[in-house]
Symmetry: C2
Subunit: 398 residues, 2 copies
């Protein structure tokens, strides 16, 4: 019964999801407190109280037929889209209006919508290793071809020259994810300018249009006051995929948006196509209660100090034990060098201590592992003695 394409997907599965399910299994056997599950980016900080308050208020005050009905446009309530645009303009000095915003079922759907709009079969999508493995599935959904720029393990930031080498007449899109999953790196303005310059030059040289897609669900989760440049200001052909999953701690509710600026080539057709794609892909429209909630919570965000405390505890704890880690500037992931070449071996060893971590191969970066530290601080503190034993096993430090 199953199609050839889906057979491949079933065979490959999602390693992250597999580890997450393994965590559930182990927790059932050993008790939740004895399992240290760093597998999934499922926020452990509750949604800010304003989120539930806004929902209560909407349920009490809005007409049910309007609140729970189809939105007139598949792109979402125009008043919500206007409010989102206005909020972005105030924060980033952009010049959007509601028509530049398509409300979506999270950033995952925003990415699928823009890729559906852009890709002809065989078109190439450039990504920078290490990267979120789902980009492979999303690109395959539309018969696109993933082209990887290899990782620079010195900086974990994109290398403009390596990037330029991989752009061809087939390059239709480039996905950037900063703050980054899985490294926590935040790309600097300098890097962004360099990448923009490469694309401008290649567009002119090849006579093509290359769409930069900024996947930024972690925009607000940054530490030490680091700046996250707003990409539409550096390169005209930029679309932004955003999610409230992390900033408002509600990944299960599936609410986010896609930004298509007027400066993007053929913006009018791209906007029209995105609204249609949002409908026919099966979303129809983003969940309406959540759309209206978002408009009431534009200035709200989750408590970052919690993640910062975790980052410090985990980064300091592991480096003191002799592990080599990329220091995260944002997001809630720690990328750790495997003490053995094959990181699957490291993951298996960690599992013996009920510690669940995800192999870097999932992110096209073997030799490393990802730890999601959006867990309780207790989990981190209690996992450190386990890591001490693992460090001892690998003879990391006297």
């Amino acid at each position: 019964m199953v199609s050839e394409k889906m057979k491949v997907m079933v065979a490959n599965g999602s390693q992250i999801r597999a580890w997450f399910e393994e965590g559930s299994r182990l927790a059932a056997i050993h008790g939740k407190e004895s399992v240290f599950d760093f597998s999934l980016g499922n926020p452990n900080v509750p949604a800010p109280k304003e989120v539930n308050e806004a929902m209560h208020q909407l349920l009490d005050e809005e007409e049910a037929v309007e609140l729970h009905g189809y939105t007139r446009s598949n792109a979402g309530y125009i008043e919500v889209r206007d409010a989102v645009a206005e909020s972005l303009n105030q924060r980033f000095g952009t010049n959007f209006s509601g028509r530049n915003i398509v409300m979506t079922v999270g950033a995952a759907m925003a990415l699928n919508v823009i890729l559906k709009v852009l890709l002809n079969p065989g078109d190439e999508v450039i990504v920078f290793a290490p990267y979120f493995g789902e980009y492979r599935s999303y690109t395959a959904n539309f018969d696109g071809v993933i082209v990887e720029v290899p990782v620079n393990t010195k900086t974990f930031h994109p290398d403009p020259e390596e990037f330029a080498d991989r752009i061809t007449v087939k390059t239709k899109a480039v996905i950037i994810n900063s703050p980054n999953n899985p490294t926590g790196a935040v790309y600097s303005e300098e890097t962004i300018k360099a990448l923009a310059e490469v694309m401008e030059k290649k567009q002119e040289e090849l006579g093509t249009q290359i769409c930069l897609i900024s996947d930024e669900p972690y925009r607000e989760i940054v530490y030490d006051g680091v700046n996250v440049p707003y990409l539409t200001k550096y390169y005209d052909n930029t679309a932004v995929a955003y999610s409230y999953s992390k900033s408002l701690s509600l990944p299960g509710e599936r609410i986010g948006y896609l930004v298509i600026p007027d400066e993007l080539a053929d913006s009018e057709q791209v906007i029209a196509a995105a609204s249609i794609a949002n409908r026919i892909i099966g979303s129809v429209n983003a969940p309406t209660l959540q759309q209206k909630m978002v408009a009431k919570c534009l200035d709200v965000q989750t408590d970052i100090s919690f993640y910062e405390r975790n980052r410090n505890a985990l980064y300091n704890g592991l480096t003191e034990l002799g592990f080599e880690c990329v220091k995260p500037e944002g997001a809630f992931y720690l990328f750790v060098k495997s003490p053995v070449e094959n990181e699957d071996e490291f993951c298996a060893k960690a599992k013996e201590y009920n510690v669940l971590i995800v192999p870097g191969g999932s992110f096209s970066c073997p030799g490393y592992v990802r730890m999601a530290y959006c867990v309780s601080n207790e989990t981190i503190v209690n996992s450190l003695p386990k890591f001490a034993e693992i460090a001892k096993y690998y003879k990391l430090k006297k």
Copy 2:
């Protein structure tokens, strides 16, 4: 920028959506009460009070991290899926468990998920005219080919012989929609048995598997005690796409499910593939608050008497004026024969009276129009004098 496939979609648009947007435009000019908008199936009956009560309760009582978090399985909360399965078993004598249920972003997504799981490029999907035009888009999403069984304008029910003639080795799926959009027809047990027999025979003859997809968001909206057979009981290779959009009046919230019974060929792989498809298509999981709400509202449904009153008023009103209509047994649509061969002309004429109706061409059934009567009763009553003028214009009756 826009892909070739999406260019076609933009050019074709959705006629229903275009009429819906035209309704908004006219309402802004003439006032809402002077526009009679029968274009979109957007329920006008508010969600039952239990729906908002359940959401309030969940927001108050559940841990935010659990309530708004990713579900462990992409198929949804297992306790919700178990509850849905149990409810179906009680109502229809089926034998499902939670693993047969995948919670989805409405029925539109359930259809996209199952088609993504099934279709190889070039596979054929059989539909019975008249049918919901979105099936064309959903099938095109996976490079499938729509094969139409022509309408029988005597019965508006599927003709088993015409159906048998269109089954080939390429036939992978058949979509049935009963209660039907746009006719309101409910397919009898006799019809279902006849279709099942055709498929059984063809499967054996051709050595293929043909999946029957029952799209049934209108299951609960039926009149005069008519019976809607539960299709998995008549044919093993049946999947069911369901939505709470109509039964609980919340189409904007995007909550529904897909049923994959154990009896379906390769069910284990199909279930695994559907869960993965739900993730990579961009949904990740169905909205979590709505999943939990549904589990609390399994015995709740919207007030059907409202639609029944509308059906009677509109059907009786129009037939008395000399219009020829299919008498709806379910759903909230009236399918009306155009007084002129080209129904676009009829729609344009109606628009002169601020009456918005959708051409049958959208449903592959030219010569007819669809009216969605999920509007206020006042709209229907006040539209009848307009229809009287239109009837007079077309000299329908002395």
